[in-house]
Structure formats: structure tokens, C-alpha cells
Amino acid sequence: MSSAVSFRNVSRRFGSVRAVDGVTLDIKEGEFFAMLGPSGSGKTTCLRLIAGFEQPDEGHIEIFGETAEGVPPYKRNVNTVFQDYALFPHMTVGENVAYGLRIKGVARADREAKAREALAMVKLAKYEGRRPSQLSGGQRQRVALARALVNGPKVLLLDEPLGALDLKLREQMQEELKALQKTLGITFVFVTHDQGEALSMADRVAIFNDGKIVQVGVPTDVYERPQSRFVADFVGSSNVLSPSFASHHGGAAKWTSLRPEKVGVYAPSTAAPAQNAHADGEIKMISYQGSVTRFSVAIENARITAEVPAGGPGFEQGDKVRLIWPRTAMVTMEDA
């Protein structure tokens, strides 16, 4: 199989901190790969290891089959879209985009034409004469993207590129990035701490915690079958059931994850359909979220959160209810 990027037992230490701790990873050619994790989990350091801004202390990195250790950033065929864009303030938008080509010695007319093309691709045609300071955040983001893509990289690295944008713009850019990746067919490696972003855009997601990869998989896998409490908690919200609770309510005697949206809220003594589990409890809190309503229900000494689409049952705080969920929604996890 052809890997765009492969890590073998890669570690990177900063003083006594192991920012990246024994990471082994294969990113396939042409895939949209997301690195997801809380801040300080090592995902950005991994990206910087691919870009060449950091060198591994241990382990081996290959980019398209070529050893990457000791190769400086300017000799790697990868380009980065920086978190705060890092557009050069003393150059126009056009000069920024043409910078990589200018460094490579491409003739002026040629590189200007290519820069215009790249700007048109990110819907910023006719902006080449402006200064970065005259653009909005979303426009700067597009310029940074054009500046990276104009070099025809084999791998495009994106470091939280949508972090500074407001919600509407972010959603729009997510779609555009995804479409762009499809048409260009370039491997995208995307770092984010936003799980929604990772799940909606990526072909595969790696979840980082404490410098290690705790799970890699396609978004549905990671979301539906978290292998650890950390993943269950970090990717969406989840009810984590103790082994004893799980075994009493239709599951195995293991730590178990149960997604709130899989849990239905019904009147007490409603009959549970076959292949479903149930538990009785009392509503402690109701929180209205617009498209869904979230019920927090006390059962024995546990709390289970259920998410019900808007227009569901009209229960009130303190009501006795029965929670019903399919047994297949209970996902056992490897560790506590």
C-alpha cells in the first residue's frame, strides 16, 4: 500500500515533556486525514514533524517513501497553511501567493499567472493587488490556502486553519476545503481540536491524547465504537457506564459507552421492544438546545443523558421516566 506519510515509533521531547510519544501512523495517498485532540496532545507537533519544523528524537518518518529525518522544510514537497495564516505583511496578496514560485526561480509573468489562477480557485480573483492587512480573516485564510497550493505540494498540512473564523464562515470553508481536496486529489493532513470539524471533513481521524494516538479510524468508527473512555468523552459527548451498571442493563461487565442520542425517554412501564435495554429513573435536569432537548436522568447511583429531537415528549423536571435504548448502541471499551 502506498503511504503519503508514515511514522514509525516517532517521539519528540521538549525538555522533560514527551510532546509526541512513540507514534506509529500511516496516512494514505489522497486521503483527508484529521488529527484530533485537546491542546497539548501532540497533534500539532506531529504536523510540524511532517513539515520539517521539528525533527524527531526517536523513530522514523517517511514522506512518499523518502526518509524525512534531517531534511529541512525547504527541501520537502509539503506545504502548510498556518493557524494564523502567516501571510507576509510587506507583500501584496499576489506576491504572497507567488512567493514559493519566485523562490524556485519561476519567471515573473509565469508565476503571476499561476498566482492569479490559484487565487481564482479560492474565489479571490482580482485581489492580488491588496495587502493582507486589507483582508478579512476568511479572505486571509483563502490566500494562505492559495499560497500553499500553488506550489503543487504532495501533502497539504493545515494547522487549525478554521479556528479563527466565525461559525457560519467555518461551516462554509469546511465544505469548500472538502470539495477542493476531492478535485485536487492531494493528501490533506488537518489538525483540529474541534471534533465536529474532524468527523464531518475527514476520511480518517486519529485521536491524540498525551502525545499518543489512542484511536485511528473512519469517523463513524471513531464515533460509534470508541475504544476508550477518553475517545468516548472527547468525540461527542457520551454516557460512560460502569461494568456493573452495564451488565445489569443488557450489556457486558465492561466499561461501556452509550451515546445520548441513542437513548429514548418514555413514560414509566412502557414496554421495551426486543433487543432493547431499559432503565427507570427520575429527570433531574432538562436543557433545551434548539434542535434537540437534553434530559439528565438519575438512575440508581448513575446519571444518564438522553438527547431527544425537538418536539419529543413533554416531560418535566422530577418526572419518573423509563429510558430505552438498543443494545447495539452499547459499545464496550478496552480500558476504564
Partner: protein, 313 residues
């Protein structure tokens, strides 16, 4: 009972003044700005104007009295060969000192801005600022001793069997002389030493404002360190270099102490002004001479602006 009482605030004179000012922010701003505006407007610009006025008067050669009549004759005097030489000599010295300061200061400022942290940064500031704490005259006289024929440089050259090199340098036409302390080389060295902090600090401040991810972005786009330096770091440091060069250039243009103590007897503008307004009593020509650095600096700033040195600001 004591809990419930509110303290009745006594309205003193100052309270009323502050209430008055709070309600009228414009009056407050004017009051704050008045003293510095008076200082700059009357004392500074006023005396500058008086100086300018003097340069349009002339000296009566026979009586030695100042003729209070508008004339350009004094400026015409500036164009006499001897005076033009003074101007050229000073400008050349200032330009060379500025260039040397920039070349020496840049790596120091770069290190301080990019690599120095914690105690190395404190040490940097101490090393750059400490020479400014001691008297200017003491430093210049110290240099006179260092550069003198019996001084430490001659002694070291002898110890290293390099006396021939020193002699050859001193034998150079124009810039050489009987000893380093009586040569343009000596004047140049002292100027560079004295003014270099004024070059280091602005460059360092400019480099501090260049985020490291610009440098990473440049490398990411394929630029080798040398290319990154000339296309990203240098252009962004340029306003700092220009700011520093304004200091070193104008300070050298106007200085008369350094060339008087260390150097040959050929005059620089500062010395010319000093002798003309003192012993010679030719205040108009002295005033005309002081206008020269102002015009040169104005021209220099205009050129720098035209070349886009301030575009990043």
C-alpha cells in the same frame, strides 16, 4: 447603627476641579497638552526658527558685525571649496559610520530578538545599555588612550608581531595618519563605538515584531535560510534599520567632540559650527552650517519613504 450610615463625602476644592474636568474631557486634554506644546512650540521650534533666521543674515567682513538684512550670501559661502569639503567629509563619515553600525548591530540584534531568553536577554540589555551610563567624554578620552601611539593597540600589535600591518594601515592615504588617534580611522572607530547602541535597539525592536512563523512559512514555501533572510527578515527589519540609521547618521553629522579629541585637524560640520559661532563670531555662517544636516536628514527620510522602508509600519 454604624453599619447603616453612609459617609457624606466632603466636597473639597480638588474634588470640584476633578468633577469639572471629568465632565469636560476636551478642557482636560488641552490642559494636559499645553505644557509640552508650549515647550515644543515656543522653546524648540521657536529657537530653530531663530536659527534659520540667523542664516539669512550675513557678517560684515570689515567690522565683524552681523548685518541684519535678508541675504543668501551666507548660503553662497557654504558652496566655497573649503566649506564644501567640510560638508562632504562629514557626510561621508556619517554614511560610513552608519553602514558599519548597521552591519555590526544586525547580528547582535538578531541574536537578542530571536535566541536570547531570560538571563541572556538581561545580559544583552546590560551590555548594550551600560556604555550609555558612563560619560560620553570619558569614553572618548578612553578611546584616545586606546588608539594613541603609546596605546594598547600599538602594544598588542607589537606583541603579535603585527606592527608592520598597523604601520601599513596608518600609511594609507587620507584615512591614515601619524597614529590611530590622529586619523580618520580613529574618528570612525570611536563614532561606531559611541553610536552603536542607538542602532542595535531599534533593529532589535523591529525583529522582535517578526513572528517566527513568518520564517517557518518562508522555509515551508521552499526558501533556504539565505533567501528567507533577504526576502522576509531583512525587509521587515528595514524600518528598524532606518530608525537606527537616523540616530547614527544625524548624531555623527552634528557631533564635534569626537573629531576634536580623536582625529586629524580637518574640521567636520560640528566643529565648524563651534568655531564659527565662538572665536570667529560668524553666527550667520554657523547657522547656515547647522541647516545642512537638517536638509540632509530631510532628504534621507524622503528617500527612505520613497523606497518603501516604512510600508510595513
Amino acid at each position: 447603627m454604624s453599619q447603616a450610615t453612609t459617609v457624606e463625602r466632603e466636597e473639597g476644592f480638588l474634588d470640584r476641579v476633578s468633577d469639572f474636568l471629568l465632565a469636560r474631557p476636551k478642557v482636560f486634554t488641552v490642559l494636559l497638552l499645553l505644557p509640552p506644546l508650549l515647550w515644543i512650540g515656543v522653546v524648540y521650534v521657536g529657537s530653530l526658527f531663530a536659527l534659520l533666521l540667523q542664516s539669512f543674515y550675513s557678517l560684515d567682513d570689515y567690522s565683524g558685525l552681523i548685518v541684519h538684512q535678508f541675504t543668501l550670501a551666507t548660503y553662497a559661502q557654504l558652496l566655497e571649496t573649503a566649506n564644501l569639503q567640510i560638508i562632504f567629509r562629514t557626510v561621508a563619515m556619517s554614511a560610513l559610520v552608519t553602514l558599519a553600525c548597521a552591519v555590526i548591530a544586525f547580528p547582535i540584534a538578531y541574536y537578542a530578538a530571536r535566541y536570547a531568553r531570560g538571563w541572556t536577554k538581561a545580559l544583552f540589555y546590560l551590555a548594550v545599555m551600560m556604555p550609555l551610563w558612563s560619560s560620553y567624554l570619558v569614553k572618548v578620552y578612553a578611546w584616545k588612550l586606546i588608539l594613541a601611539k603609546e596605546g594598547i593597540i600599538t602594544w598588542i600589535a607589537k606583541g603579535l608581531h603585527l606592527s608592520w600591518l598597523l604601520d601599513r594601515i596608518l600609511a594609507l592615504p587620507t584615512i591614515g595618519g601619524p597614529s590611530l588617534s590622529f586619523s580618520y580611522i580613529g574618528t570612525f572607530l570611536v563614532f561606531v563605538y559611541i553610536w552603536i547602541p542607538y542602532m542595535i535597539l531599534p533593529i532589535q525592536a523591529a525583529l522582535e515584531r517578526v513572528p517566527s512563523n513568518y520564517i517557518e512559512a518562508s522555509a515551508d514555501l521552499g526558501a533556504e535560510p539565505r533567501q528567507t533572510f533577504w526576502t522576509v527578515i531583512f525587509p521587515l527589519a528595514l524600518p528598524g534599520i532606518i530608525a537606527g540609521s537616523i540616530f547614527t547618521f544625524s548624531l555623527t553629522l552634528g557631533d564635534y567632540i569626537v573629531p576634536t579629541i580623536v582625529g586629524n585637524s580637518r574640521l567636520m560640520i560640528g566643529q565648524a559650527v563651534y568655531t564659527l559661532q565662538g572665536t570667529a563670531g560668524n553666527v550667520p555662517l554657523a547657522a547656515a552650517f547647522t541647516v545642512v544636516p537638517m536638509v540632509i536628514m530631510g532628504f534621507y527620510l524622503w528617500m527612505a519613504k520613497r523606497m518603501g522602508a516604512f510600508d510595513v509600519l
